[in-house]
């Protein structure tokens, strides 16, 4: 098991730059998730670590070794594909022993290793089955098993749960997490699903447009997003933003939005321009009848224990996450106000969050 380090990594396809000058350190035994919308460069980054794509520039370290230009077969990593890529002409046992055969293990060693991995993944009863007869979940387990048997330096997974149905995905999520705790292997996991990322990751890197915007623990990513994109991408629904048409100065503790005054945490940094954004998460807003921004109820979504209420105001649509006990009707007039001071100001010029008492 090893640390993975990416230094100034860049990948271009013709004129298009898929990954821009990225730096990242993935610690030993860490479960690291690359999260972002499709086309953000997360899969390309993963494929470069795997050796399936060669970087245009930059270095990749696996442990102490620089592997950026090595072939995939020389890197000692395992890769779990989104579509599993199990060899359809081999049965489960042969699929699992395929990577070991290449490394010249003895027959008996291969057998015991395959059986050990199969037992761990609870697929020992289907070792002699054909791939085509397996369910999605079993295929997933076989794909993991094939990665596992070799005891590689790192596991790379490209949306491995993407093709499973929702119920099964949750189950596999738990199993993956448990598996990771059991074997403690460095894992890099690519997904566009933030819930998956939040529940699996030790640390998450959020990517967009080929850039790594923030790499942190899930709770920090959620509560203290470094950019406006991270704030809107993470959370369901994402953060609410209001335009603030004034510059923010140091020590400022309120802003004017459309003539109304809002408290904000004491700012430790001034803005670069005169157009900024006031960001607040839906669960930090509340509805009432006498205070705050006026609007009308535009939509109500039930999420079981919580409700998401969309309120149409002069500032646009605002999402409010409330308790299930709040009862409002469509088109009812309500007022929205912040519940607490968990507010982040984003610089309109750089899209970055400004340091404040709340977010340092």
């Amino acid at each position: 098991m090893s640390q993975i380090k990416i230094v100034n990594l860049q990948k271009s396809f013709g004129d298009f730059t898929a990954v821009k000058n990225s730096n990242l350190t993935i610690n030993d035994k860490e479960f690291f998730v690359l999260l972002g919308p499709s086309g953000c460069g997360k899969t390309t980054t993963l494929r470069m670590i795997a050796g399936l794509e060669l970087p245009t520039s930059g270095e990749i370290y696996l442990g102490d070794e620089e592997v950026g230009m090595l072939r995939a077969s020389e890197r000692d990593i395992a890769f779990v594909f989104q579509l599993f890529a199990l060899y359809p002409h081999m049965n489960v046992r042969n699929n699992l022993s395929f990577p070991l055969k290449m490394q010249g293990y003895k027959r008996s060693d291969i057998k015991s290793r395959v059986e050990e991995a199969a037992k761990l993944l609870r697929i020992d009863h289907i070792l002699n089955s054909n791939i085509s007869s397996l369910s999605g979940g079993d295929r997933q387990r076989v794909a993991l098993g094939r990665a596992l048997v070799r005891r590689p330096k790192a596991f790379l997974m490209d949306e491995p749960l993407g093709t499973l149905d929702a119920e099964f995905r949750e189950l596999m999520c738990l199993e993956l997490k448990k598996l990771h705790l059991d074997i403690g292997a460095t894992t890099v996991y690519v997904t566009h699903d933030q819930l998956e990322a939040m529940s699996l990751a030790d640390r998450i890197a959020v990517m967009d447009g080929g850039e790594i915007l923030q790499a942190d623990e899930p709770n920090i990513i959620y509560n203290k997003p470094k950019t406006k994109f991270v704030a809107s991408f993470i959370g369901s629904p994402g953060m609410n933003f209001f335009e603030v048409n004034e510059g923010i100065s140091k020590d400022q503790s309120f802003v004017n939005i459309e003539g109304a005054k809002f408290d904000i945490p004491k700012q430790l940094e001034e803005s670069k321009g005169s157009k900024n954004f006031f960001g607040i998460r839906p669960e930090n807003l509340t509805l009432n009848n006498n205070e705050g921004l006026k609007g009308s109820v535009f939509g109500v979504e039930y999420l079981g224990s919580r409700k998401i209420i969309t309120v149409k105001t002069s500032l646009g649509e605002i999402k409010v996450k409330t308790d299930i006990s709040i009862n409002v009707k469509l088109n009812e007039n309500v007022q929205v106000k912040p519940l607490n001071n968990n507010i982040i100001i984003f610089d309109g010029k750089t899209d970055k969050s400004l340091n404040s008492e709340f977010i340092k």
Partner: protein, 314 residues
């Protein structure tokens, strides 16, 4: 109106019509073949009798004549010989002839086998490698190259017969097995590359990527993971290549005479007494039909899947 059946399913009337059309078509195509097989079991007289005989007493004379050389002898000489050792000698004696030795047919037939299977293997093997490269790599001028490969099939092969004849004479490839294998491989290769590229495109590249991650080189991954999955396409391609090289006549007439002559130019030249020996020709063609027929039947399942492969994504 009958509403008990699905609109997507053909009615029983149209099913019957389809069956009738297929049967008529099959009968039409089978007439020459069955005539050929019947001729092979006739004797020399009934083969050329007019009006043609449909019902006749079967005889193996054609097959005996196909495999032997014979000479006519006087009755006195035949009487002086020891009695015939086996049935075919008896048959030949009854026509007042003696067997002087085996004919060239077996040699020509095995030439056909060597050249047919040899060139089929070479075309499919080289075609698969080329198709894989065209399918996976960024080959400069890929589309132009593919068109160029295809364009070799756009003129009748016989158009290049004279240059090839001269080239082969200079290179010493005329009338050799190797020469014919190379020639048929070259002709078949364009078909093989195009057909197989279609099949390779259908195989997700994740398979060989997985194999490469598992420690295999690209070539090893190609043989262990890609080829087994392209089996369908390979079988279909092999059948098409085999049919071409097995039946090819024009180049075989032109370029082969003794060592490497294949069966197609040989069979029509089987001459009996006073003209062509039709039963022997019938026997030769019947036997000639068998290998390709067996080969196709063995690979039939693949062929059917192969032709429709990729029409619907699985």
């Amino acid at each position: 109106m009958d509403t008990s059946r699905s609109y997507l399913e053909p009615s029983s009337f149209s099913k019957k019509m389809a069956a009738a059309i297929i049967i008529v078509y099959a009968v039409i195509t089978l007439i020459p073949i069955s005539w050929m097989v019947m001729t092979s079991f006739k004797n020399v007289d009934s083969a050329i009798s007019y009006p043609p005989e449909v019902l006749f007493e079967p005889s193996l004379e054609g097959y005996v004549n196909l495999f032997t050389n014979r000479s006519r002898q006087s009755q006195e000489y035949l009487d002086s010989l020891p009695p015939p050792k086996n049935w075919y000698e008896e048959l030949v004696r009854s026509r007042e002839m003696v067997i002087t030795g085996p004919s060239k047919f077996l040699g020509r037939y095995s030439n056909s086998m060597i050249i047919g299977f040899g060139s089929t293997f070479a075309s499919v093997f080289l075609g698969a490698l080329a198709a894989y490269a065209f399918s996976r790599f960024r080959v400069p001028l890929k589309d132009d190259l593919l068109f160029f490969i295809l364009s070799t099939r756009m003129f009748p092969p016989i158009a290049v017969a004279v240059p090839i004849f001269i080239m082969y004479r200079k290179l010493g490839l005329g009338d050799t097995h190797l020469g014919m294998i190379i020639l048929y491989t070259v002709v078949n290769l364009s078909l093989a590359v195009w057909l197989l590229k279609g099949f390779m495109d259908e195989i997700p590249k994740e398979y060989e990527e997985a194999a490469m991650i598992d420690g295999y080189s690209r070539l090893q991954a190609f043989f262990k993971v890609v080829l087994p999955q392209a089996m369908t396409g390979i079988a279909a391609t092999a059948i098409f290549c085999m049919i071409f090289s097995w039946n090819e006549y024009a180049f075989a007439v032109l370029l082969t005479q003794f060592n490497a002559q294949t069966a197609p130019p040989f069979i029509p030249t089987i001459i009996g007494e006073g003209g062509l020996d039709w039963p022997a020709i019938g026997a030769g063609t019947t036997l000639f039909l068998l290998p390709v027929m067996i080969f196709t039947i063995i690979l039939r399942k693949h062929l059917l899947r192969g032709i429709t492969f990729g029409a619907v994504r699985k």
